[in-house]
């Protein structure tokens, strides 16, 4: 076929979209009159950069541009993708401009894509990289894109005018997308966000968060905005700050907005505007929070910036009806609809829904198939047709059935065939399985068995605690000093000698951690330590923080500052530093009875001089130690921290009184406490242990019984009757769920958890 018929187009508008659709539909295009009459005629630097990018990811594509850049001939090639590609996006448009088309092309490539993009990560024009992570990726998953291999990693940030940011985009390949019916936007369940600052004070971030929260706090409690202060090389080349917010709804929609503030680009088209003053962070926070509310008010399953991509994905689906609801159609989205009609021949039926002022769009997809995929054999995960051939049921039905099975059965079923092996081992399956409704939380307690004079872990089989099992794989030697977690079904175990390990009992995986070996001056001796176990919300690594308190033997005084050691499962190593904010080591910190880790932060209750109580927190991503005030009336450390309905709760009790009460305070936002209930007075309460499924407070009673107090019905029920004479704190209580999350990382091996083996015995010796 020597001849091609070019689709002839005119003008500079929607060049990116035209190139994308041309590539997807293999239609060569010829565009004339590109800004022919403008002061600066021809293609813009970012458009040329995008063409370069297309050349990089595809084979055989031909780009011809005339001398003035006003005429462009583009013959698309085959999208090859591949690993370790690098592209400099320049500084005239941000990386967000390139991400949207690139991710769609990546899905239909021959090989999975992984590319490093350099340039501007955040600006006020294009969707930021944070928005891509929080809103675009979940949307792709709605269309059946596997979450395994779909990621955007922010290595460093860069804002206009000079950029300097770097991100790594990974995109898996698919056979085809999955048609969707997505018209229920649900109710807003929580608001999350990220702020960033580069080459300016991190105080800017706090001001933005404060302003944004001022608007949200009246509306809903579950608001959490993470900060990301970049310094040094990670901060790019220009100063700036910005914020990206997103609302998650009960039906899994994500509505997002973002902006960034920095100096304008010099050679920008927008130079006609007078040099505006940069908005102060307080205004930015308020504006963006209002913008988010505006987007929510509009309705629809996506925000206005994502409408175009949503329609495009619907149009690329198999020949099946897709139905979506959006708010007011954005101008760009309308252009997308027109171009879809021209390139793919897909027409949408648009039906306004006057009662809600939204629009419902329906279309039958064009059935784009990834032809390169058929060579990949049986290893692919979404090989729908493949599995339909060698089994009775379609892929999605099998998936839903497998998701309901316990871990042990699934490990066996990995052997059924290669397809099931890949499916059960995939990251998306592991995550979905963990959060599946049928994977219920079980009450796990450590109790004392007087008949055998030993401690044992008991797992309650049902909701009414009618009976318990003592499964072998959940047992620990008596010499375990602490057990923290579980997070994603994974515990952190500490032996009396200070050895630490991660443990997934459901997979019987046990991974000893390297020893903590900081350099300590010879005259110092460690007299106490404090541990916290959590996840870095940015990259999902497990983190363990240990604070060691030292005594200066020579002068017989405490030594400041204390030493902080942080273990990171990504690098499988410890890092040590001294934190000046931890100067006051004579403030005593207490380990909480349950794992008081929440949204990237670990919390401990601390006390100074028996009267001054406060909370010490550790932020797992910034590795800072903020201090948080407790309610004024809390004067003594008689109580504990716990988690309640996605917030930190303070369980305060006065042990000296005969009729004891437990006051439950909840911190809805930092430093802002509300007393939600009081349990008692009751003579029998010995110690509060934490909450069970957000509805019942677990209490240890004087007779060493475990009792649950229902917050709503005020009823008590008793669980356990194991008794130890003069026993004190015989209970460790956990909410345990099985998990397929593997501890096996690249290059690090884990061991089999078998309490009778020498290996485990040595570990706990």
């Amino acid at each position: 076929m020597g001849k091609f018929s070019y689709m002839r187009l005119k003008g500079s508008q929607n060049l990116r979209l035209r190139l994308l659709l041309s590539t997807l539909s293999s239609t060569p295009i010829l565009i004339e009159d590109i800004r022919a009459d403008a002061t600066w005629p021809g293609l813009r630097p970012y458009e040329v950069s995008f063409l370069r990018l297309l050349e990089k990811v595809s084979d055989d594509c031909v780009v011809e541009i005339n001398e003035t850049g006003t005429k462009l001939k583009y013959k698309p090639g085959i999208v090859m993708s591949g690993r370790h590609l690098v592209h400099d996006c320049g500084t005239s448009r941000s990386i967000g401009y390139f991400l949207e088309p690139l991710v769609v092309l990546g899905l239909f490539g021959k090989k999975p894509l992984s590319i490093r993009l350099k340039g501007i990560t955040n600006d006020s024009k294009d969707p930021s990289v944070d928005t891509f992570r929080s809103a675009t990726i979940p949307m792709l998953k709605q269309f059946g894109v596997p979450s395994e291999g779909l990621d955007l990693k922010i290595e460093s940030r860069g804002v206009p005018p000079h950029g300097g940011g770097e991100v790594i985009l990974s995109v898996p390949i698919v056979d085809s997308l999955k048609a969707i019916t997505w018209i229920d936007e649900g109710m807003v369940k929580r608001i999350r966000g990220f702020t960033f600052s580069t080459r300016v004070s991190s105080q800017f971030e706090n001001t933005m968060i404060h302003a944004a929260r001022g608007i949200f706090n009246r509306l809903l409690p579950d608001v959490h905005i993470f900060t990301d202060h970049k310094a040094g090389e990670q901060a790019g080349k220009s100063p700036g700050y910005g914020i990206s917010l997103y609302a998650e709804t009960t039906s899994g929609c994500v509505i997002s907005v973002d902006t960034a503030v920095s100096y304008a680009r010099g050679e920008d088209e927008g130079e006609l505007e007078d040099e505006k003053e940069l908005s102060p962070p307080g205004d930015v926070g308020e504006e963006i929070a209002s913008a988010l509310l505006g987007e929510i008010e509009q309705g629809g399953v996506v925000d206005s910036t994502h409408q175009g991509l949503l329609f495009l994905l619907c149009a690329l689906c198999p020949q099946d009806v897709s139905k979506v609801r959006v708010g007011k159609l954005a101008p760009y989205a309308i252009e997308v609809l027109r171009h879809i009609r021209d390139f793919l021949g897909v027409k949408f039926v648009i039906k306004p829904d006057p009662s809600t002022e939204t629009v419902i769009l329906k279309c039958v997809g064009c059935g784009l198939k990834n032809l390169s995929r058929k060579y990949n054999g049986t290893h692919n995960i979404s090989g729908y047709m493949e599995s339909a051939k060698n089994g009775d049921l379609p892929e999605d039905v099998i998936l839903e059935i497998l998701l309901r099975l316990p871990v042990k059965t699934l490990l066996q079923l990995k052997c059924v065939c290669k397809h099931w092996y890949a499916l059960i081992g995939s990251l998306s399956f592991v995550n979905q399985h963990f959060s599946q409704e049928s994977n219920q939380e079980h009450l796990l307690i450590r109790h004392y068995r007087p008949d055998e004079e030993r401690y044992a872990f008991a797992l309650y089989v049902d909701e009414i605690f009618s009976g318990y099992e003592e499964p072998d794989h959940l047992q620990m030697p008596v010499t375990v000093a602490a057990l923290m977690g579980p997070l994603n079904g994974i515990f952190c175990v500490v032996s009396l000698s200070g050895h630490m390990a991660l443990l997934n009992p459901a997979l019987r995986q046990f991974k000893p951690l390297p020893l903590v070996h900081p350099y300590v001056q010879p005259h110092l001796s460690s007299y106490d330590d404090l541990l916290g176990f959590g996840l870095d919300p940015y990259n999902g690594d497990y983190k363990l923080v240990s604070i060691q308190y030292f005594w200066n033997e020579e002068m017989d005084v405490p030594h400041y500052p204390s030493l902080v050691s942080v273990y990171n499962s990504g690098s499988d190593s410890w890092r040590h530093f001294e934190d000046v904010n931890l100067v006051n080591s004579s403030r005593c910190a207490y380990r909480s009875l349950c794992n008081t880790y929440l949204n990237g932060v670990y919390y401990w209750l601390t006390e100074f001089n028996d009267t001054d109580v406060a909370i010490l927190a550790f932020d797992m991503s910034s590795e800072k130690f903020p201090e948080i005030q407790v309610p004024d009336c809390i004067k003594s450390k008689e109580g504990d921290l716990a988690l309640y309905e996605g917030s930190i709760a303070l369980l305060s009790c006065d042990l000296d009184k005969i009729d004891k009460c437990v006051d439950v305070w909840v911190m809805k936002k930092e430093g802002c406490w509300t007393k939600i209930l009081t349990v008692g007075p009751c003579q029998d309460i010995k110690w509060p242990l934490g909450f069970w499924k957000n509805s019942e407070l677990l209490l240890e009673t004087g007779t060493s019984l475990l009792t649950l107090y229902n917050v709503y019905t005020q009823k008590l029920r008793t669980v356990e009757a194991r008794r130890k004479e003069n026993g004190f704190f015989i209970y460790w209580v956990f909410s345990y769920k099985e998990s397929l999350v593997s501890l096996k990382g690249e290059g690090n091996k884990c061991k089999l958890w078998d309490t009778s083996s020498d290996l485990i015995r040595d570990f706990f010796k």
Binding site: E185, V188, N390, D392, V397, T409, Q412, C415, S438
Partner: protein, 177 residues
């Protein structure tokens, strides 16, 4: 922050719903059997609802992927769930009994039909039932039931069994209960 409720459930006040109850549709199975069903019951299937909405449903709706026996079962389910007086508790009990007597082969037919017709509640119920039956069954039983042939070599299979040897302890016998 409550968003506008777009799908009010108050069916009783809707005159449209009343109309639906009296209107009947005819569903035709792959083997040519025809079944009458009230529109209010039929539209519990999202696929049928879409067809009705798009006015594709001129008289008889052909369902070429569902055989008569299965369609009869599905219709029993739809009728029960569209019943006015039925409380949630009753429906739950009905669901339980509905799936409990079915053999694996029948469950597969029903799950395929529910998937094709997009009946969420039935799909969920049958999937749960199939999963319950699969718990603690041997790999051979699963392969036989799902008609899947192993594409592993015996060595590969042995290797995998070794990796999680403990998971093979205490597997039930291969009798279909």
């Amino acid at each position: 922050m409550a968003r506008k409720n777009r799908n009010p459930v108050g069916k009783n006040v809707d005159p449209e719903a009343q109309k639906k109850k009296t209107r009947t549709l005819t569903l035709k199975s792959s083997d040519g059997q025809e079944f009458s069903i009230s529109e209010s019951a039929a539209v519990l299937s999202i696929a049928i609802e879409n067809m009705v909405e798009d006015d594709c449903a001129g008289g008889v709706i052909p369902l070429p992927l569902v055989d008569g026996g299965t369609l009869a079962r599905v219709i029993t389910y739809l009728n029960k769930h569209a019943e006015d007086g039925a409380s949630d508790e009753e429906k739950r009990k009905f669901d339980e009994e509905f799936v409990s007597g079915m053999e694996m082969g029948v469950l597969f037919d029903v799950v395929l039909a529910a998937n094709y017709l997009d009946i969420r509640g039935l799909l969920r119920e049958v999937r749960r039932r199939i999963a319950d039956r699969m718990k603690n069954k041997s790999v051979e039983w699963v392969r036989k039931t799902f008609h899947i042939e192993s594409d592993f070599t015996p060595e590969e299979e042995e290797q995998m069994k070794k990796e999680f040897a403990w998971a093979w302890e205490g597997v039930d016998s291969d009798v279909d209960d």
